[in-house]
């Protein structure tokens, strides 16, 4: 039942993405409405599957990287659905929905092997850690999409060579100020996520900092965003550079999330051999 729901959710995301893609090329108002609804239906099935999983296991479903990415995808899609209702920037869907499909499909491809910890998945700190980190990363993924939109639009205007997208994409200022909002909302959440993570680590492993590769990479990612926030607030960094940094930041996040979990040794890792008690 659960995997059936996940398949339906994936198909919904995929068809929503196709709808948004056609909308990118053709300005038909029904397209984004249908696509948004498809994403919503997908999110409902996805959510139901996650709840089933959580009930079945009796704790928060982040025990494997597959579960983690699946949950993150759900947070991401829901965040987008809410933002879309608030902002009415339909074209954003064309850049966000493909990410949802990529995350969803990659979560199906990644190993299901559980992350071995000492079974404290019910801790409030962990829930706070995971949800704030996931929400922050959902916003950063949005920031990534906005960065790509900005670079595409800016390239057209700079090169004075207007392609199909010139008409379809919003103004540079609109994209940039949205990116600003996403960053300013995402950064405190990420900070909070890191802090709760340290607290949780301190409780479970007696030390907040364990030189775990994922910890190191997370801090590096946090630093990238910290630079972006700082530059935006002090010298008014914006536009192309900010967009590039947002893209780099999110790429680093993905790297942290996948590589560190999958390949490197540490307590966030799936295949870690030496494991702290």
């Amino acid at each position: 039942m659960e995997s059936f729901f996940l398949v339906i959710a994936t198909l919904c995301y995929l068809s929503g993405t196709i709808g948004y893609f056609i909308y990118l090329l053709k300005d038909r108002e029904v397209l984004p409405r249908i696509s948004w609804t498809l994403l919503l239906v997908g999110a409902l099935f996805h959510g139901a599957a996650l709840v089933m999983r959580a009930i079945g296991m009796g704790h928060f479903p982040v025990t494997s990287i597959r579960e983690a990415i699946s949950l993150f995808t759900w947070v991401f899609v829901v965040t987008y659905l809410v933002i879309q209702v608030k902002l009415k920037l339909r074209i954003l869907g064309s850049f966000v929905s493909p990410l949802a499909v990529i995350f969803m499909v990659s979560s199906r491809l990644l190993p299901t092997q559980a992350i071995r910890t000492n079974g404290s998945f019910r801790s409030g700190w962990l829930i706070a850690h995971v949800s704030s980190i996931f929400l922050a990363n959902a916003l950063f993924a949005m920031l990534f999409s906005l960065g790509i939109m900005y670079l595409l639009q800016e390239r057209g205007i700079k090169k004075k060579n207007f392609g199909l997208l010139y008409e379809r994409l919003p103004s540079l200022d609109r994209i940039d100020s949205l990116a600003h909002v996403c960053l300013m909302a995402g950064f405190p959440l990420m900070t909070a996520g890191l802090i709760t993570g340290f607290v949780y680590a301190a409780m479970v492993w007696r030390s907040p900092w364990n030189w775990d590769p994922k910890e190191i990479l997370s801090v590096v990612t946090w630093l990238i965003y910290a630079v972006l926030v700082h530059e935006r607030l002090t010298v008014g960094w914006r536009g192309r550079r900010a967009a590039w940094l947002a893209i780099i930041g999110f790429s680093a996040t993905v790297l942290t999330f996948i590589l560190a979990s999958l390949l490197l040794a540490g307590h966030h890792s799936v295949i870690s051999k030496n494991f702290y008690g």
């Binding site: 639009q153 205007i157 700079k158 004075k160 207007f162 010139y166 919003p170 103004s171 540079l172 200022d173 609109r174 100020s177 010298v235 008014g236 960094w237 914006r238 536009g239 192309r240 550079r241």
Partner: protein, 449 residues
């Protein structure tokens, strides 16, 4: 046979460097028209010079000699060294082509910004100067007047004028793509010029609240400021104004860029990297085009903006076709007038022959009747004169009607034989070449009918 020749270069045929040299030359005080007395083969001459074109319009009897003379004149006037291969930049239009080209120029179809209204004023100015130099006579006089009315016709009957508006529209649209909302943005207008003012007006209509005007001459700045409800900025403080402005519309006549890459780069930090959009309407350019590479700085010149409107190219093309149709029509009308010119000498010689006969006969009559008083003499003069007029009236009308027909030559030949004018017409032709002005009213009458 009189030829009309138009020789020149414009933005389509000459590269930027040569054009920029033209732009410098066009600000020269000396007008090449003063050289007309030294040009042996050129009869009438008009010199049109704008920042995008230099054209000589002239009439002549012998083509190749006159063209060579005018080319030499152009070279010396623009100050091009003989190493520059001038011929490849030049176009030479003859007769009807020249007429058509002039009509295209006047109607702003040949302009860089198609439909811009400035060119007509520049043509009128060129004509006025030529009148001052007394270098226009029958043919060019009529041709220029005709071109003004063609331009007016094109403007009222097509929407070609709105194409220039669409350049400013494109500028506003681009500003929207950069800034989103433009209501709270500040527009800085540097220099003046119809295109720049058009763009500024467009921004105002789109809701821009704050406008600043910088001009080298304070009076002009004050005048513009009053018109756009703007504040004035001293020209010297121009670069400081870049800190506050968001959109800069520039069109000064400066030969070098007035705002450099460095000027802008240095001010971006103070602007906290807020986007800055330059619309450079000037030729040569006012803004260093390299500035476009600076982050959050966008520099568009008039060519770039033209590129933006390629979007509604179809519409523009159909308007241009409509305009060209008008021009073709008017060109044919003008051709008819030109052709009636060769009818006119015939008519003139018919009249002259009649007048000569009348004078001879009057002299004989008066010598036989010495008792006539002045009143009686006058009455006889009037009588004979009106007999001749009435008698010749119908044949002349007939000739003028035939002037526009292909078979004109046959009628002309017939007339010459009928009145036995073969010898006299040659004399009249020669006389006309010397002082065509004398016969001007005749031509106009002929053309009007």
């Amino acid at each position: 046979m009189v030829h009309i020749i138009l020789l020149g270069m414009n933005h389509k045929t000459a590269p930027v460097e040569v054009r920029e040299q033209l732009a410098v030359a066009c600000r020269k005080e000396v007008n090449p028209l003063h050289m007309l007395p030294h040009l042996e083969h050129v009869e009438e001459l008009i010199y049109v010079s704008t920042c995008n074109r230099v054209e000589f319009l002239f009439t002549c009897g012998s083509l190749s000699e006159a063209i060579a003379e005018v080319k030499a004149l152009l070279r010396t006037h623009v100050g091009l060294p003989s190493s520059v291969p001038l011929d490849s930049y030049l176009y030479v239009h003859k007769d009807l082509e020249a007429v058509k080209h002039l009509f295209m120029v006047a109607s702003s179809l040949d302009s860089m910004v198609v439909g811009e209204p400035q060119i007509l004023g520049q043509l009128k100015e060129a004509y006025r100067t030529a009148v001052e130099y007394r270098s226009v006579k029958t043919v060019l006089n009529r041709l220029m007047h005709k071109s003004f009315s063609v331009a007016k016709r094109v403007r009222t009957e097509t929407c070609i004028g709105s194409c220039a508006v669409s350049v400013s529209y494109a500028a506003v649209e681009l500003a929207r793509k950069i800034f989103g909302q433009i209501k709270d943005k500040r527009v800085l207008l540097i220099g003046a010029g119809e295109m720049a003012e058009l763009a500024a007006e467009h921004f105002l209509r789109q809701g821009v609240k704050t406008m600043m005007v910088a001009n080298r001459t304070l009076e002009r700045a004050v005048e513009l400021a009053a018109r756009f409800k703007a504040e004035t900025v001293p020209f010297a403080a121009l670069l400081e104004a870049l800190k506050a402005a968001d959109i800069v519309v520039s069109s000064t006549g400066a030969p070098q860029p007035i705002i450099s890459y460095r000027d802008i780069k240095a001010r971006m930090r103070e602007r906290r990297n807020k986007p800055l959009f330059f619309i450079d309407i000037a030729v040569p350019r006012d803004i260093d085009p390299k500035a476009n590479q600076i982050d959050n700085v966008y520099v568009y010149d008039i060519d770039d903006l033209q590129g933006v409107i390629e979007f509604n190219k179809e519409e523009r093309l159909s308007q241009a076709r409509a305009a060209e149709h008008i021009i073709d029509e008017e060109t044919i009308k003008f051709r008819n007038w030109m052709e009636s010119l060769s009818v006119s000498p015939t008519i003139v010689s018919v009249r002259e022959k009649a007048e000569k006969i009348r004078q001879d006969e009057l002299r004989k009559t008066f010598s036989q009747l010495p008792d006539l008083n002045d009143r009686q003499r006058e009455a006889i003069e009037i009588l004979t004169s009106s007999i001749i007029k009435k008698l010749l009236h119908d044949p002349i009308i007939f000739l003028k009607k035939k002037a526009q027909r292909e078979a004109r030559a046959v009628y002309m030949d017939f007339t010459l034989q009928l009145f036995n004018l073969i010898e006299t017409i040659d004399e009249v032709d020669g006389a006309q070449a010397e002082s065509p002005k004398a016969q001007e009213p005749e031509f106009f009458k002929a053309a009007k009918k």
